[in-house]
């Protein structure tokens, strides 16, 4: 059903959601509201029923308990569901009804398509910003698509997790949509009838242009505090005013602010007064403090929405919502992060690792070494924090491109876009190239091969040994080259066993062919855009590639830093063993250092009990197409790598980037950790190896030696 502003009655509230209902009240009381149509929540349910999407969504959601999913897996599920909406057309009847109503109301002008979920009203929940709204959408087909996207946002990662957190029913939610005329205001903002920090005040926040930049937190607003009684301005905080959000040919863009606007506040004193009067009137209409979004066009005030202030001050719910909101990152936001990571963080981490490596530890006194160990420990901790604060959020670059790609191409496989991201510059691929080089030498030289079989590593020629050590230094057990000793021998043995196995079963990737394929796909993707949009498409792709590459490289960079801490600790321990006495401070430092540093995202395998329960078929996500049967090799520690045989199925909690070098030998990969963009899945796609991720308890149910089949199409693992 489609309703107009004047049609709305009290009984329609549950059909159009609180946001929609508030607009109808505002209009009835004479506030200036943009032209609006409401698409009721029952249309959403009809669409689900008519297209069969209801059960498809629930099947996707029930593959794994939502509570057991990592956030990345929830995002994956949300992306799959979103793609279902994109690829399922509206039934003809609904389509013609919508087209007619939208045409009648708006003609050819562009609109805003906003979410208005009925359960947004429920007592404790504030859904502000969690569901999608799309600004400046033109053309009937485009508007219809965005209505579906608003529906789909009911199932976004943030919305799913937030509902679960609040204990709301995830499965029976529904969604109404508000379609409004776009008001391209010269200044916009929000106004609170009660300042969350002082309820004797009104608070206004305002930016030049559209208010999306403010709402999404990209643009810092000017801020006014106004006395509720006298309506006088108590304070005005002036923002730096660098950018504004503008309507572009389709959608909105963040642009640099023209000089004359940089110097002027977005609104003047009299407009502040108008706003204050309006919000107080709204407060008396609704009977509770209000939080309004507004815009001024040609000095005329438009109210875009009004809702009760859910909390004054910060409550639990508000805290949680803002966390879930942080899952949404805008393109502009990510570009900023990219410059920071590429321009500063990565060069820094490389430089620091190099500086530390070149330091002569043996020349330090005990006390100096003690300080150095602690220093390196701090440095390492600092970079782990950077990893969580900057590198992990930057992974959104891939996600935002994924959505962009799916919106444009509407592929059957929502992960088709990953093929465009493959990049020959990834460090792990460089490492695999070095491995292939070593195995080629072994393959060509019978003597080396026999020496390796006999494990007489000391008899290897210096040239080959140097190459092997160069590899270990670059990618293997990194402290080995500095510290020497037992760790180093073990690392060499692991490496050479793998190299020998690789030389027997050479599996080479045709990099040139792969690169050409990517070029063809890239061209095909860009051809979907008109000349003026192509630049934007390129920017999204470029951002995604950098983000994708970092996702693979960041752990390796971190390992380099950790290795330097480890080598300093090693030097201390060596002195303790060799000398009778070391200084007290060094003794103390060594005693407080942990044995190892907890790796980001590493998981400890659960202990295995004796069950007479066996798994026959386990469920995960299809992360690399293909099917393979083989003997399982379960990895719990890095030492398990050495025994790996060609054609085995790799079973593990998580593929660590430092262990990806055995991948060319595997016939299939099964990971407990879930996600389509995790290291294992990325490398599996590179090599075309069947891969299933997110299989709960996989290392508990599958033992080394079991015969397993990995079905990378259906996302299932079957035990014989």
């Amino acid at each position: 059903m489609i309703l107009k502003l004047k049609d709305i009655q009290e009984k329609d509230r549950s059909l159009i959601g609180g946001k929609g209902y508030a607009l109808s009240i505002l209009s009835r009381y004479g506030f200036n509201v943009p032209r609006t149509l409401f698409i009721t929540a029952d249309v959403y349910l009809d669409y689900l029923k008519a297209t069969g999407l209801q059960e498809r969504i629930l099947l996707a959601l029930h593959r794994k308990n939502l509570k057991e999913m990592r956030w990345e897996e929830v995002w994956d599920t949300a992306l799959r569901i979103r793609n279902m909406f994109l690829t399922k057309d509206l039934p003809d009847k609904i389509k013609s009804l919508f087209s007619k109503a939208i045409k009648n109301e708006f003609g050819d002008i562009s609109v805003v398509v906003r979410s208005s979920a009925p359960d947004e009203d429920s007592a404790a929940a504030s859904f502000a910003g969690l569901h999608e709204s799309y600004v400046n959408i033109t053309g009937i087909d485009n508007i219809l698509t965005h209505i579906k996207l608003v529906w789909a946002s009911l199932w976004s990662d943030a919305a799913l997790l937030y509902r679960q957190e609040l204990g709301l029913d995830v499965e029976n939610s529904s969604m109404a949509v508000v379609v409004q005329e776009v008001i391209s205001g010269s200044a916009s903002g929000v106004i609170f009838s009660k300042n969350p920090n002082d309820d004797s005040q009104i608070l206004i926040e305002s930016v030049h242009g559209l208010n999306q930049g403010l709402v999404d937190g990209i643009i810092e607003p000017d801020r006014w505090e106004i006395d509720r009684n006298s309506k006088t301005i108590i304070s005005h905080y002036e923002a730096a005013r660098e950018q504004w959000m503008m309507t572009a040919s389709d959608g909105i863009r963040c642009e640099t602010l023209p000089q004359e606007k940089i110097n002027a506040p977005p609104i003047n004193k009299s407009q502040c007064k108008t706003l204050a009067d309006t919000v107080l009137k709204s407060e008396s209409v609704f009977g509770s403090p209000q939080d309004m979004e507004w815009t001024f066009r040609d000095n005329k005030l438009y109210i875009l929405q009004s809702r009760p202030i859910t909390t004054t001050g910060t409550s639990n719910t508000e805290d949680k919502r803002s966390w879930y909101l942080s899952l949404k990152k805008s393109f502009d936001n990510l570009q900023g992060l990219r410059h920071k990571i590429e321009g500063h963080l990565i060069p820094d981490i490389i430089r620091i690792a190099e500086t530390l490596k070149n330091m002569n530890l043996t020349g330090l006194s005990d006390d100096e070494l003690s300080v150095e160990i602690q220093n390196r420990y701090e440095i390492n901790n600092h970079w782990i924090k950077v990893y969580w604060d900057e590198f992990i959020p930057f992974a959104h670059g891939v996600r935002i491109f994924g959505q962009f790609y799916n919106d444009t191409i509407r592929p059957v496989d929502p992960y088709e876009f990953v093929d465009l991201l493959k990049n020959s510059r990834m460090i792990s691929l460089e490492r695999n190239r070095m491995l292939e080089e070593l195995s080629a030498i072994v393959q060509a030289d019978q003597n080396i091969s026999s020496t390796l079989i006999a494990k007489k590593y000391s008899e290897l020629g210096t040239d080959f040994q140097n190459k092997a050590y160069a590899y270990i230094e670059a990618f293997g057990n990194l402290s080995c080259s500095v510290s020497g000793g037992k760790e180093c021998e073990a690392a060499l043995e692991t490496l050479l066993t793998i190299v020998l196995e690789m030389s027997r079963h050479n599996r080479k990737k045709d990099n040139k062919k792969a690169d050409n394929n990517i070029k063809v796909k890239e061209e095909a993707f860009l051809n979907h855009f008109s000349e003026d949009k192509r630049q934007q498409a390129k920017e999204y792709l470029d951002l995604a590639r950098v983000s994708y590459q970092l996702r693979d490289d960041d752990n390796i960079h971190l390992e380099r830093i950790e290795a330097q801490w480890r080598s300093a600790v090693h030097e201390g321990k060596k002195r303790k063993t060799l000398q009778n006495k070391i200084s007290l401070s060094l003794e103390k430092t060594l005693s407080i250092m942990p044995d190892q540093i907890e790796k980001p995202e590493s998981t400890t395998p659960e202990s295995t009990g004796h069950y007479n329960v066996k798994a026959r078929q386990l469920l995960g996500q299809a992360a690399g197409p293909g099917i393979a049967t083989g003997t399982a090799r379960v990895f719990t520690t890095r030492n398990d790598l050495a025994g790996f045989k060609h054609g085995e199925i790799l079973i593990c909690d998580a593929v660590d980037p430092t262990m990806t070098f055995v991948i060319p030998l595997t016939a299939g990969i099964v990971e407990k950790r879930g996600g389509m963009l995790i290291h294992g899945a990325i490398i599996a796609r590179e090599y075309g190896i069947p891969c299933v991720t997110g299989v709960s308890d996989v290392t508990k149910y599958i033992k080394t030696g079991d015969t397993v089949t990995v079905d990378g199409y259906l996302g299932i693992v079957t035990l014989k």
């Binding site: 059960e55 629930l58 029930h62 069950y611 066996k614 026959r616 078929q617 469920l619």
Partner: protein, 154 residues
């Protein structure tokens, strides 16, 4: 042992809520399926069902005692695909003697009182299936196996 408990709980729930099971028998390599009113026991060891001695399933049992039973809670609507659970039991059937039949009859009729006339006739046999393995299917495709004999891994 959390999973063992989870599987047992789900199988017992199917036992208590479902009345009918699909029975598979075979003779001369020809499979046959039939619907039977079943009763399972608390420790999952045996499953009882009744049949007339003239039926095809009974004649199949005379030549092959290996059977499978399927019990499920589907409602025959769309939501079954994400909600329904099914268990397949494999085991060996035994046609109970008259004395054994009388001993087990009360338990059987407690679940299926409407079958009192049927079961009490001399031409009706009570069959006890000794379960060897349970295959529990949840979430559309997740399959777990409960082996009743730890040494039997086949």
């Amino acid at each position: 042992m959390e999973n063992l408990e989870h599987i047992k709980k789900n199988i017992l729930a199917l036992f208590s809520k479902q009345k009918l099971a699909t029975l598979s028998t075979a003779k001369d390599d020809k499979p046959y399926a039939s619907l039977v009113a079943f009763v399972g026991d608390r420790n999952l060891k045996t499953i009882l069902f009744a049949t007339a001695r003239t039926t095809r399933k009974f004649s199949n049992l005379a030549s092959n005692l290996n059977v499978a039973l399927l019990i499920n809670n589907s409602r025959n609507d769309e939501s079954d695909f994400h909600e329904a659970m099914a268990v397949t039991v494999t085991g060996t059937a035994e046609v109970l003697s008259e004395t054994e039949k009388i001993r087990h009859m009360d338990r059987y009729l407690a679940t299926h009182p409407y079958l009192a006339d049927f079961v009490s006739q001399p031409t009706c046999a009570l069959i006890s299936v000794k379960a060897s393995r349970y295959f529990l299917v949840e979430n559309f495709q997740k399959v777990m196996i409960l082996n009743m004999d730890k040494n039997n891994d086949s």
